[in-house]
Symmetry: C2
């Protein structure tokens, strides 16, 4: 049998601002190590591209160690177990978890879990919606951190993003008034017409504060934050007493090359007794089954809609990632690496 | 009987920055209205001077309506019921609550509650420690919002202030490592030598970040925030995963005449899953008995020490209040208005 060769992206430089390309170096023809006892050989099917990739590339203080220079870039994957010398992950299993931007991986598979994809759904649904990183984040960030009560007003930024669009739809399932903030009229129309959001704000065209007064006339009870910056400030300014701000992401700051200030409306946290809480979905790993089962059911029932934006080929990963930061992706961004 | 005349301070201008004097106008010889059915005549014994007074003077978005221009300035008081046509507040009762910067008040007394001061303690203890505004704030802000666990590290800013000094001492009662940040060597020495704080930082002389690394070598689990600004940023930068920041006050910003940015370390809230929560002690009114009974007991046992800084005469109130903002007060600031 011919020796397998790998292809992969290594982090070779910490990016500055949004100049990501030079930060990653592509390699082909790398030998794949032999599978030892307790190990598996995984072949990547889909590589998920997410805001957190940009965090891992930097050496900012973060929730996991940053990727070391010279190492394979880290990512979330759906893979198939091609060979197995581990009782935990039998050959042929479909797994999801944290791995590298590469075609093959030989490891103990400890960072992966078996998924049992429903044959009625395409496999990419298990990165776009029914995944820890997307469905799990939306579910726990809204319900556990945001503690919404039926009849309250929920505002979501990055609302047309993979997480944001699920947050808004779960909000509707839970009986909330849902306002989405997104960056184009097309995105806003999708949120309102397809996903059932009550109101939307195109932050690139509208004054967010003024538009929010109309869209959320009773003020904001739960804010699900994906972006940070000026939008966070505008929404904080209209947060009700005892409102909850669930900090899921601050993407507007990830590419910053100089320190950026926190919200000018920070004192509102005191005046309106706001709870601002950050969370990272991996903290909910133990309760993920509960969430993803419900999310899968909602997807099957058509209550949760999602979009996948799939680029072809591992070599496109860095340029594809950039779409996240300029907002040109149309759905959950991923790379199709190899066929099942 | 000669008609009683009042003396009082009215808010006549919104202050800009820390120029408070011209904002208040003093009047003497004002007639005191007759006491009608259901009303009481209160005579002020002590007027409490607090950071929140400055908030009420401004028209910033806040937790109560601001004081209207032309109205008597609002304050916390200890008063005696001089005449009563109300069954709720019998003549001779000592009461504490929200009233005006004035000698006499005729009202229904709804914003006051009867206190039963322990004869072993001076009456000012019921403004300096055993009060909703001080003891209640320290108690609920630390224990309810901060959720400290024995063995954790607590940092308190404004540590030599009335609230901060109680917070640190309650922290010691609860088995925490307590670090106090204050503005002079004398204050720091008092915190360490008299109140039992484990470590102190003089923010006017020391680099807070560097000093905090030494004072809180395991990082910060609970931060009780009284000041905001640069110190908040420095402490946020050393907050542990799942730490809690209890926002009690942001005094450094109350006098600001231009918008001030939030902490540059805001993204730490996400990375370290920090909970930042504002609170106002009046939200805990229903549970105040529970807190103040325990605080009084701790004071009687000598476990909670406090200092009162008492100015003489209502006419000194505005100039006395300024001490809060330049940090020259030595203990809980109040004005002695009239004798019991």
């Amino acid at each position: 049998m011919a020796a397998r060769t790998n292809k992969l992206w290594r982090l070779v430089k910490r990016p500055v601002g949004d100049v990501i390309e030079g930060a990653l170096a592509y390699e082909e023809g790398v030998a794949v190590p032999e599978v030892k006892d307790g190990q598996v050989l995984l072949r990547t099917l889909f590589l998920s591209l997410d805001p957190t990739n940009r965090i891992w590339m930097s050496d900012m203080d973060q929730y996991m160690p940053p990727v070391e220079l010279g190492q394979v870039m880290r990512g979330f994957l759906i893979s198939v177990v091609e060979e197995s010398k581990s009782s935990k992950l039998p050959k042929g299993s479909i797994v999801a978890g944290v791995g590298g931007w590469q075609l093959y991986e030989v490891s103990d598979g400890a960072s992966y879990g078996i998924i049992n994809p429903n044959p009625k759904l395409p496999l990419d649904a298990y990165l776009s919606a029914i995944s820890m990183l997307i469905g799990g984040t939306a579910y726990f960030g809204l319900l556990d951190i945001g503690q919404p009560k039926a009849g309250e007003t929920l505002v979501v930024s990055g609302a047309a993003g993979a997480v944001g669009s699920l947050v808004g739809q779960i909000g509707k399932i839970k009986g909330l008034r849902v306002v989405g903030i997104a960056g184009s009229d097309e995105k806003c129309a999708w949120l309102k017409n397809e996903l059932g959001f009550d109101a939307t704000i195109n932050y690139k065209k509208e004054n967010v504060s003024e538009a929010l007064r109309v869209a959320a006339p009773k003020g904001v009870d739960v804010y699900f934050e994906n972006v940070g910056g000026k939008i966070l400030d505008d929404v904080l300014g209209q947060c009700n007493n005892f409102s909850r701000v669930s900090i899921c992401g601050l993407i507007s700051g990830y590419n910053a090359s100089a320190p950026i200030p926190g919200p000018y409306n920070f004192a509102q946290i005191l005046m309106h007794r706001i709870k601002v809480q950050g969370f990272i979905v991996i903290d909910y790993a133990a309760r993920m089954g509960e969430a993803l089962q419900e999310v899968e059911q909602w997807v099957l029932e058509g209550k949760l809609k999602y979009k996948s934006d799939i680029a072809e080929g591992l070599e496109t990963a860095p340029t594809t990632l950039k779409k996240l930061f300029n907002g040109t992706n149309d759905g959950k961004l991923m790379v199709h690496v190899s066929k099942l």
